[in-house]
């Protein structure tokens, strides 16, 4: 379609609207002002004003992770653009389809160290799937359309488009680019499927591992696993790709994985990995990973196959197609010994039964309904939530897996909640991570978002760092104590008109959770827990999965703990 009286900025919005983009998260500034000005002419696109560009991009990621559709964010040049870098890196590692649009100084100022100029395409080169500087206004709609296609196609990822200010203002006379057809996803080659099937048929101790790349193949993977009767492990990113209620589900693998998942990997003779990249937090020491297994690796990204682990049967292509093909002609494997062994491992799972972070997280996640979205920030609460939450369907679990971005959870939960206003978007955060993006409470207030429920597990520490210091640095708790300077989280929430609830002990918890979830508004629940609980099972860094520590070792009081306890006492009135 051709439109008259367009500027580059208007052409941008027309292109976004034409691609079905309904919501953009952003923050204005000098070099993006023409775009914000043009926004007033495009009421079909909603702009969500965050309080920090990092909040905006994580919200866009939350939107994308919950829906599987592209998230879009907007920032000005220089400091606005550089504030997006963390989110871009996050989206890159977790394969999130994302379009980031930044303003830049006018073309004649580029390269002169102008006010608020940063070479954002140079800076973001390693953390984007692709990036662009728009050099002529005629290119703008085409570049936006191409960026959206690149972000969504193949293995999804973030794409940044940098638009100089004079191009935003320039007259545009061309067409508005229409969406590209989604490119065909390669179907796996029949020879590869055949070899994989042969391996599965001869397996005595098979196991399926499903990762974040398998989320949209959940139905096919479920059918595949049930048809062959093969147990399934879902990675941190793949939680929800297989229903937790199924007896074949073994939990999460890796550093804080379940006993059953890690033992099964260590014993397996055939491992079918679908849409995962064998991250080091999943494999532990690579030489000790699945040492007896022939590995079948299904991945869309050829570069992932053989990158970390030796692959015996590479299957390049779409996870849905591969899972469906592998389910064809399946016959149930009759493996009573393997089943008995797995059930014995599963029985070793100890659920938290006394007051602490695990107990609190379990009390919250037990309240999840199948459609509710659970986000987490990064740290102990994240691993506890991943261990304890049960997901019956994909895209209900949102966390920063690859980059481990503290501050991710809360804005991501806002983005997910805005994408699906009909469901409850719960975020579990720590007292540390929440404070990295706590200013986004303003976003809840501004848009009267009513379905975001914030739960802060407050142990007064950077808990995961503290756990590592305890285990690997002889309990020297260097710079991880937050309790003496944390805000009163309820007062903080109240300052933004967000209702707050608190529980200090197991007895108070059920009532507090009830009130928090029943509140008609978005609300915050602070759960104050003892500060020295660890997350177990745990595979120490550099160890093999078979060397996991299954339960928390008994602890003795240490000078470090006493000193911190004294500090805590000192702050009491």
């Amino acid at each position: 379609m051709t439109q008259t009286d367009l500027t580059g900025a208007k052409a941008l919005w027309a292109t976004l609207a034409g691609h079905g983009i309904t919501t953009v998260f952003g923050y204005p500034g000098g070099a993006i002002m023409p775009v914000y000005d043009a926004l007033t002419f495009y009421p079909e696109v909603r702009h969500v004003l965050a309080r920090h560009e990092q909040g905006a991009i994580h919200a866009a990621e939350g939107w994308a992770k919950a829906t599987g559709e592209i998230g879009v964010c907007l920032a000005t040049s220089g400091p606005g653009a550089t504030n997006l870098v963390t989110g871009l890196a996050d989206a890159m590692l977790d394969s999130v389809p994302l379009l980031a649009i930044t303003g830049n100084v006018a073309r004649h100022l580029m390269g002169t160290d102008a006010f608020q100029e940063a070479d954002i395409t140079g800076i973001t080169l390693p953390v984007t799937k692709h990036n662009y500087v728009v050099r002529e206004v005629e290119e703008l709609p085409r570049v936006i359309a191409e960026a959206i296609r690149i972000a969504r196609s193949g293995r999804p990822g973030p794409v940044l488009v940098d638009i100089p200010k004079d191009i935003q203002l320039a007259a545009y006379h061309g067409e508005i680019a229409v969406p590209h057809a989604r490119p065909e996803i390669p179907t796996p080659r029949p020879e590869a499927i055949e070899r994989a099937r042969e391996l599965l048929q001869t397996a005595k101790k098979p196991v399926i591992m499903a990762g974040g790349g398998s989320l949209d193949a959940a139905a096919e993977i479920t059918a595949l696993a049930r048809a062959w009767d093969i147990p399934v492990i879902t990675t941190l990113m793949g939680l929800g790709a297989f229903p937790s209620s199924d007896p074949l589900w073994l939990g999460m693998p890796g550093m804080h994985g379940s006993v059953a998942a890690n033992r099964a990997i260590s014993e397996a003779d055939v491992l079918l990995g679908i849409g995962l990249r064998f991250d080091d937090r999943v494999t532990g020491r690579v030489s000790g990973f699945a040492p007896n297994a022939a590995i079948i690796h299904v991945d869309l990204d050829a570069a992932e196959i053989g990158k970390i682990v030796r692959t015996h049967v590479p299957v390049r292509g779409d996870a849905r197609a591969a899972a469906a093909l592998l389910a064809e002609g399946a016959r149930k494997l009759d493996l009573p010994e393997w089943r008995a062994q797995i059930n014995e491992w599963k029985s070793r799972t100890v659920e938290p039964d006394h007051w602490g972070a695990g107990y609190a997280v379990k009390a919250v996640v037990d309240r999840l309904r199948p459609d509710d979205i659970l986000s987490s920030d990064v740290g102990q609460h994240q691993m506890l939530a991943a261990q304890l939450a049960r997901f019956e369907r994909p895209r209900r679990w949102i966390n920063s897996g690859g980059l481990g971005t503290m501050g991710f959870g809360f804005p991501a939960a806002i983005g997910a909640g805005m994408a699906e206003p009909g469901v409850t978007s719960i975020v579990i955060a720590g007292d540390g991570g929440f404070q990295m993006t706590a200013q986004e409470l303003a976003t809840l207030k501004k848009y009267d978002v009513r379905n975001v429920k914030i739960c802060i597990i407050n142990n007064s520490y950077l808990g995961m760092v503290r756990q590592w210091q305890e285990l690997f640095h002889e309990k020297r708790y260097s710079e991880v104590y937050l309790g003496d300077s944390n805000p009163d989280f309820l007062k903080l929430a109240d300052a933004y008109d967000v209702p707050g609830y608190r529980a200090d002990c197991a007895e108070e918890l059920p009532e507090a959770i009830d009130a928090w979830l029943a509140d008609p508004k978005s609300a915050l629940l602070e759960i104050v827990v003892p500060n020295e609980h660890g997350v177990f099972p745990m595979v120490p860094a550099g160890a093999a999965l078979s060397e996991m520590i299954e339960t928390e070792p008994p602890r003795a009081p240490t000078p470090g703990i006493e000193r911190n306890a004294a500090a805590e006492e000192a702050k009491q009135p």
Binding site: H130, V286, A302, A303, G306, R310, H312, P314
Partner: protein, 205 residues
């Protein structure tokens, strides 16, 4: 289990056809740098097609490292095609300028050796001769070794360039036969990377 099929460290000659757009070189070298692949030589030049450049790298590593480097390269939006010359018959050349110190006594001998190598004299000074030598790596290395005893003042090597033997077997036909500049962009957009061939993992892609 993790040992690559061919763990020998050696040089691999790889060409990439890339879009001729700003920052492509940075994008590619940054990928090499970030992932720790060592480029021993790199040459870049335009091709017979406006809009497409050709890069030739020498990457040092075992078979697995080079496979991984190529697959990572193939993912870049700017990269249209990767050619691993070790899998094919190819011709390669390198150009070097060598400035050799001369004395009245050595002048004739230096010129004689250069003639044997078909090196061309491109500059004549009172105390130095500058030669241009073209050839494969072995010939250039041999020439430099011969000149070393006379005193090499300066050298500059271009890095290797290579083409597959035969009639353009390595270029996707619809790119190669695409018409003028305007026609190239959509044609290049549609080009799929070539099938990855046998290497660190069995050939099942």
């Amino acid at each position: 289990m993790t040992a690559p099929l061919d763990s020998e460290q050696r040089d691999h000659l790889v060409s990439a056809l890339v879009r001729d757009e700003p920052r492509v070189l940075t994008r590619i070298t940054s990928l090499f740098g970030r992932r720790g692949y060592n480029i021993r030589s790199l040459s870049v030049g335009s091709t017979e097609h406006p809009g497409l450049s050709r890069m030739t790298f020498v990457v040092t590593g075992d078979r697995g490292v080079v496979e991984q480097a190529m697959r990572q390269l193939e993912k870049l939006h700017d990269v249209v095609k990767i050619i691993d010359h070790s899998l094919e018959k190819f011709v390669d050349r390198e150009l070097v300028l060598v400035k050799v110190a001369i004395t009245p006594e050595s002048r004739v001998e230096v010129r004689q050796i250069a003639e044997d190598f078909r090196a061309r004299i491109v500059d004549v000074g009172r105390h130095a001769l500058t030669f241009e030598v073209t050839g494969d790596e072995g010939k250039i290395t041999a020439f430099i070794e011969q000149m070393r005893s006379f005193g090499i003042l300066e050298t500059m090597r271009t890095g290797r360039v290579a083409l597959t033997r035969g009639s353009n077997a390595d270029i996707p036909s619809h790119v190669y036969h695409a018409g003028e500049t305007e026609a190239l962009r959509p044609a290049v957009d549609g080009v799929e990377p070539r099938e990855t061939r046998a290497g660190g993992v069995p050939n099942l892609f």
